[in-house]
């Protein structure tokens, strides 16, 4: 890849700092670049048709101005930032944008895009059911088939079973490599810090899957060969919450006596914990995205159609995967972070904190407005929290 003046972590940082660099180049070479919001649009379908998936993020350092004409201030500032950047032409290298009904505001972003953003003329909004009911999975599969037809028209190519299968293999490989990347942080001290980790994850979401996989392998090899180890710190933290696409929060935390060793966020592990299962087809895509991805936007129960709810069993069924991560990565504290006005995560906070209490894991909840300035006030709280950890 032409931009890889450097390799591994240096390349990741370069792409993190200038996300459109590689895809602009690919576009000049005739590739179509399709942006997507959140982790629910199945990128496997893009790749299978030769389209380059490019995950759309906001910009914490760009004041929201243009979006004020189309969006009220009491909605997710991350999504407001995206529409703001869209109106300002920041995504003029995109040929299309795909969103999903992951939350109300996430869905409305695509709708606003259609009325207010001139770039990326191809748009599609995938309806995602709210539950993991069997009927909902089948309905979602139908939604994906509808999307498939639309995407085929756009790509002027048929999405065959073979192409889909090959693409799923490629993206499952990416999931596996990301899990390998996180393995490097199980050691104490972790071999890779959370800032570097986020730079890599943002970088691979800005590259075609095969190039992302190559970068991941380079990073893993590079980190394993490192001679210098970071200092041991008091706290090994997990970060939970919705999208956080900027290294600033991780820098802030890592400036205290703490390492962030794992996360449950939608730029971090959520898209990568589980592979798409065989047989590889549209149904397995639907199953993966609706059921296997663990995001609070989907309503889950301990048992389908249970006629008696047991609170602790309910918590276990919803958050048990977090317990496993806490154990595997030796976590001794959890920071729940959320962008303000995120309903799906906000309702989760007291119950998740209660669950963590049952595990004996201390936690704090911090809220921000998706600006670096708002993080400044958080540092004291993080420092105080870390102080309390054993």
């Amino acid at each position: 890849m032409a931009i890889a003046i450097s390799r591994g972590l240096s390349a990741a940082r370069q792409i993190y700092n200038e996300r459109g660099l590689r895809v602009r180049e690919l576009r000049k070479g005739g590739k179509k670049i399709v942006g997507y919001v959140c982790i629910y649009p199945p990128v496997e379908m893009f790749t299978a048709l030769g389209l380059v998936p490019f995950r759309i993020f906001g910009d914490m350092n760009e004041p929201i101005t243009a979006a004020d004409r189309v969006s009220t201030t009491v909605v997710c500032p991350f999504l407001r930032s995206i529409i703001d950047l869209g109106i300002k032409g920041r995504f003029n290298f995109l040929d299309g944008i795909v969103g999903a009904h992951t939350c109300d505001i996430g869905a409305s972003l695509i709708i606003q895009w259609r009325d207010y953003v001139e770039d990326a003329p191809f748009t599609h909004l995938i309806d995602v059911p709210h539950t993991d009911h069997a009927a909902a999975v089948d309905y979602f599969e139908g939604q994906l088939n509808s999307f498939k037809r639309h995407l085929e028209e756009f790509a002027e190519e048929q999405l065959t079973d073979e192409k889909l299968k090959n693409s799923i293999v490629l993206h499952n490989r990416q999931r596996s490599l990301v899990r390998d990347l996180y393995e490097l942080r199980k050691e104490d001290p972790p071999l890779l810090d959370s800032v570097e980790n986020l730079e890599v994850l943002v970088a691979i979401s800005s590259l075609p899957a095969d190039e992302g996989n190559k970068l991941l392998q380079e990073v893993i090899d590079e980190v394993k060969d490192r001679k210098r180890k970071p200092p041991v710190r008091k706290a090994r933290l997990m970060i939970w919450g919705p999208v956080f696409d900027n290294t600033s929060l991780y820098r802030l935390i890592e400036s205290t006596d703490a390492h962030v060793v794992v996360d449950d966020t939608c730029v971090g592990t959520r898209a990568f914990w589980a592979d798409i299962k065989t047989p590889y087809n549209m149904h397995s895509l639907a199953q993966h995205y609706l059921v296997d991805i663990k995001c609070p936007r989907t309503y889950r129960q301990a048992e389908p159609a249970e006629t008696r709810r047991d609170y602790l069993r309910d918590l276990e069924s919803r958050f048990g995967y977090i317990k496993k991560a806490i154990t595997d990565w030796g976590v001794n504290g959890v920071i729940l972070q959320s962008v303000k006005y995120c309903d799906t995560h906000g309702y989760e906070v007291p119950n998740l904190r209660h669950y963590l209490d049952t595990l004996g894991i201390p936690s704090i909840y911090i809220e921000h407005d998706y600006s670096e300035r708002s993080l400044a006030t958080i540092k004291t709280r993080v420092e105080a929290f870390v102080e309390t950890l054993d």
Binding site: S71, G142, A305, R309, Y341, D343, E367
Partner: protein, 453 residues
């Protein structure tokens, strides 16, 4: 603001010309709360349900269950002036303060009931309170809060929960003609599973004859309420938004006895028709400005509308998500579940095929453009809520497109459905007076451009 004198209060009450038929509809809701309390005391199952556009209401009612709607009850808490301590209770239990006001007041109510009063109803609760639920019916319709806040209630209640599904429509993808049948099949399948769950929970079978009877009543209620809404296009508008909000629960939630509700809505239709025939307005002042309210009102400050009525502001339409659009023809549908699926789907999204001609992608915007034309709005009162994304997110675009496409200006007033601390009636009134000049100006602009109002 100093307290108005008794004479002034009387004068304020008279500013809006209330429909007589509204009162009996409003009373049906109170009966539901009382009957649910009675059922609970007798050990019968009771339900807390989210607004679900009849998808769940009809099966529940056919199973003979007593239902209350916490989001409706939250409006009562706000209107009774007792909401704030419940909001504070939710905050103290760790829920972020920017969450839905309905959700936070329900959570606070549940916290108080289960954590402070050992399962007893808070004595300060109006209308006797909401009985402790034995079933929670969440819903994915319209907003994320509707399923997340009930899920969060597991913290207080061991009641099982079902979450209803509804496809997202109104978008370009959701209105493709071939998708309708596919969506209906999904809803029918969901309804079958929901009924199987109810039968398992209650250990009795669905009364299918009752379900059909209630569904037919719902269709007639739908038809009647839609006709009332259409009559409000008349000049002057015969029914003020306050009367719509007061009378909507028996159509929106199917509250109360449905046979009575149908009779009362027919009474209302007759009263509204009589007003149209005699050019009687919904306010007792000359109708000077025809206003559309978007989206949810400040339930704690409804008297504020009297002040505007005195200035000739007649609120001719409101809260489009609460209005049943034109009813579908279901005469050839024999499967009761398919009938419910189509009816419910139409309630939520039936307006959009008509609104598509407005030429914007945003379903909220296109609907309000359609309403502005149909009800000949001079201005919009836009009320973004600090605690509600669904009712607020699209309002800036509504404001922008109304101005751009129809030269209809908007008054932008921030507030909340429950928390009266964030609404300033004095300041709003001052701004409303200034806004009249803007409406006067754009009335001339529209005329000059050949628009007919």
């Amino acid at each position: 603001m100093s307290e108005p004198s008794a004479a002034a209060k009387t004068a304020q009450k008279r500013a809006i010309n209330r429909l007589k038929s509204m009162h009996q509809l409003r009373n049906l809701v109170a009966q539901d709360y009382l009957e649910t309390l009675k059922a609970s005391n007798e050990g019968k199952p009771t339900v807390w349900a989210m607004l679900n556009y009849w998808e769940g209401d009809l099966p529940l009612k056919a199973m003979g269950l007593n239902i209350v709607y916490p989001e409706n009850y939250s409006t009562l808490l706000a209107a009774s002036g007792v909401a704030e301590p419940f909001l504070d209770a939710a905050d103290s239990d760790g829920f972020p303060t920017h969450m839905c006001g309905y959700g936070r007041s329900t959570i606070g109510y549940s916290y108080r009931m289960m954590k402070q009063l050992n399962g007893q109803i808070p004595p300060e609760a109006p209308l006797g309170g909401m009985a402790r639920p034995t079933l929670l019916l969440g819903s994915g319709i319209i907003c994320d809060a509707r399923f997340k806040w009930f899920q969060a209630l597991a913290r207080y209640f061991d009641a099982p929960e079902w979450c209803l599904e509804m496809p997202m429509m109104g978008t370009a993808e959701g209105t493709e003609p071939d998708l309708e049948e596919y969506q209906v099949r999904f809803l029918v399948r969901e309804l079958k599973d929901f009924i199987a769950f109810l039968e398992k929970l209650l250990k009795r079978k669905m009364d299918w004859a009752k379900l059909e009877e209630l569904t037919d009543l719902a269709i007639q209620i739908h038809e009647t309420v839609w006709q009332i809404g259409e009559l409000r296009k008349a000049i002057p508008c015969p029914m003020h938004s306050i009367d719509f909000w007061s009378s909507m629960p028996p159509s929106l939630f199917l509250a109360g006895d449905m046979k009575l509700a149908l009779k009362y809505y027919r009474d209302m239709l007759a009263e509204v028709k009589e007003r149209v025939d005699n050019k009687i307005a919904g306010i007792n002042y000359p109708e000077k400005y025809r206003i559309v309210f978007a989206e949810l009102p400040p339930w704690h400050s409804l008297k504020f509308f009297d002040n505007l009525a005195e200035r000739g502001w007649n609120f001719v339409y409101e809260s489009y998500g609460y209005h049943a659009p034109r009813p579908p023809d279901l005469s050839k549908v024999t499967d009761p579940l398919e009938k419910i699926a189509r009816l419910s789907r139409n309630f939520v999204f039936g307006i959009h095929p008509y609104a598509k001609a407005e030429g914007v992608a945003n379903p909220i915007v296109e609907t309000y453009l359609l309403i502005a034309r149909g009800w000949k709005a001079d201005g919009f009162f836009l009320h973004p809520l600090i605690s509600c994304r669904a009712a607020s997110a699209g309002l800036r675009a509504v404001q922008d497109q109304l101005q751009k496409r129809l030269d209809v200006p908007s008054l932008w007033v921030e507030g909340d459905i429950i928390d009266k601390r964030v609404f300033n009636p004095q300041e709003t009134l001052a701004r409303a007076e200034a806004f009249e000049q803007t409406m006067d100006h754009y009335k001339k602009v529209r005329k000059a451009k050949g628009l007919d109002w």
